[in-house]
Symmetry: C2
Subunit: 371 residues, 2 copies
């Protein structure tokens, strides 16, 4: 099956080595990890485990940091449905960066994006998800003093004037080439990438600083920022640095990307413990053998077993993870038993999340940027 990776579609078995050379990004090498370890005091498991695996200009950002010039982080979430575990993996990593490097996060909620791109999405529905999504982001535990929500339709007063300057530098033909748009695209969707580029430099404009911008993102989003990097340079700003993540696979198997529109293939942040157990037991693709006997004899296949793969995201103890993998490969652990380990891990994580989510409502005001 051939694979496809762009901001609007991810399908097939992704060949990450091929993406690295196609996109012209760099692999995160041991020397980069060493550098991070020196500065952060540790290396996040997502880095050790190759979940974050590639970058653009990351070394520059670390060099500036050593000179005392902190970067800021930029990420975003286009609301149109519930948050699932695939989304939060990038944000959990950002939270770690925020804590270890003591940096600001600018979190964009482009609440016009899905409205413009999905013909059947309504304004009110998107506003509903905007609110729900903000609760989940807050519940992850970011520092409210150092985390600033930019909501495109609410902050248009400060964003649109900057987006206009960006837009002047981008023709329809370059949008067409980058995103595969055509003439039946609506004019809002065509303009949208200008709004997405703004947070690359807006925090520095607002605060009159010259910090580098670092964007952790799924590699499918790279094309947005390839365009942004060219444009912001034309406007006299530094290109943003990027750090790319692989996709957390859907429950159905290691191909493609998790999506909340297929809710049986994803675990939502609001799923109950029962629901989590049901979905994983029923849908998580197994790397086990056809019979218990065969499994005991030949062992399971970690690489395709979704429970094993997902544990990379939730079992931070390398020793424990190694033991699980060894026991699964050798046949000592059965698929159902690995699933049980995963279910407990996720339910533990979600219990805390859902508790904090209830408190999040009171915190929203602290997170929304005041201009």
């Amino acid at each position: 099956m051939s694979s496809k990776v762009n901001p609007y579609s991810v399908s097939g078995k992704v060949n990450y080595d091929k993406l690295v050379s196609e996109f012209g990004v760099k692999n995160i090498t041991p020397d980069v990890l060493k550098e991070i370890e020196i500065l952060a005091g540790e290396v996040h498991p997502y880095l050790r485990r190759g979940i974050f695996f590639a970058y653009r200009d990351l070394k520059k950002v670390l060099n500036e940091y050593k000179k005392g010039n902190k970067f800021f982080l930029y990420t975003g979430r286009a609301p149109s449905g519930p948050i699932h575990l695939g989304h939060v993996s990038v944000w959990l990593f950002m939270k770690w960066l925020q804590e270890k490097f003591d940096v600001d996060i600018w979190f964009q909620f482009p609440d016009e994006e899905k409205f413009l791109f999905k013909s059947d999405s309504s304004w009110d529905e998107i506003q509903h998800w905007l609110y729900e999504n903000m609760l989940d982001v807050i519940a992850l535990g970011f520092d409210p003093k150092k985390t600033h929500f930019l909501i495109n339709t609410k902050h248009a007063g400060i964003m649109y004037p900057e987006a206009v300057k960006v837009a002047k530098k981008i023709t329809f033909s370059s949008i067409k080439a980058a995103f595969g748009f055509n003439e039946s695209n609506n004019i809002g969707s065509i303009f949208y990438t200008a709004m997405q580029t703004v947070p690359v430099f807006l925090p520095n404009v607002l605060e009159n600083k010259k910090r580098p911008c670092l964007i952790p993102l799924g590699i499918d989003q790279d094309v947005h920022f390839r365009l942004s990097r060219d444009v912001v340079e034309k406007l006299g700003y530094e290109k943003p640095a990027l750090i790319h993540a692989k996709f957390m696979p859907p429950l159905s198997g290691v191909e493609g990307k998790m999506s909340s529109s297929e809710s049986d293939k994803a675990i939502l942040m609001t799923d109950s413990p029962k629901e989590v157990a049901r979905k994983i037991n029923k849908y998580a693709f197994s790397g086990g053998r056809d019979t218990v006997e065969e499994h005991r004899k030949h062992g399971g296949n970690i690489d395709v077993d979704i429970a094993c793969q997902w544990l990379k995201y939730f079992e931070f103890d390398d020793e424990k993870l190694k033991k699980i993998y060894d026991n699964y490969s050798s046949g000592k652990l059965l698929s159902g038993e690995v699933k049980k380990i995963l279910i407990d891990k996720i339910n533990d994580f979600l219990a805390g999340h859902q508790k904090r989510r209830k408190e999040a409502e009171k915190l929203i005001d602290k997170f929304i940027y005041k201009n």
Copy 2:
């Protein structure tokens, strides 16, 4: 010479009858004038003289007015240079409408338009002209309580969310067809028409009313609102009514449209009395004969004489205007003498304008819409 009439270019001798049928607008007939006279107590000379000559849905607006539902007026000015007499003719008519019908004016300053459409225009330059243009508009004497300036980059907070809803209904192909855009247009210019559509319904959204919108405009701008009319209806709003003006001709002759980029063909609001006299004497195309003798014998041609044509805009007394025309046609008045009459009229008007313009600075705050 063939003529061309669209928002980005007006050239040649304009055949207004042809435009009426091509655009599908209606001519203002004596019964419409009568209706206006009943409601306003008088008919503005620009209506009597056919300067405002066509409309869309004007009768509907007058009917609503009779039922007690006042309309609001919408006009705009994209700053990129000085205001000239051609601009103010439409606004002087609006001022009359405001006074006679006691209605609000929403005055848009799309300060991103020329920035996006003119490759050599700078942000600061446009912001300079925005300020200068606001002074001229205020100096015309609009009621500050009933006149609301919407500045696209300053009011983007309330305008962009509505523009997004408009934009979702407009494809690139329809923009291409309407304005002759192509793929090398920048994505800001492509989106822009959505921002221009917003004031058609925004005042009602902000004030929770259902007033009809009436837009006095040069007929070259009709295409913008043909598109807008379709879109706002899809969003559940009433189509705006339009009332179309002919172009005030440039000094150089009755073809084309006045433009401040050719400042010798236009009288600017800041021109000194001397400058006004110099421009008119030197550049105003004359309908006179080659020699005084011939002129006395055969008379001058009112239809091509710019001084005669411009007096339609500044000599509001029908008797006096008729006398000037009769005397010019019969050869009693020489071209230089008609020019002298026009120069005095314009200098008189500009003296008052320039005095009020000095006071306008203090009033800007009252005019800018507070949201």
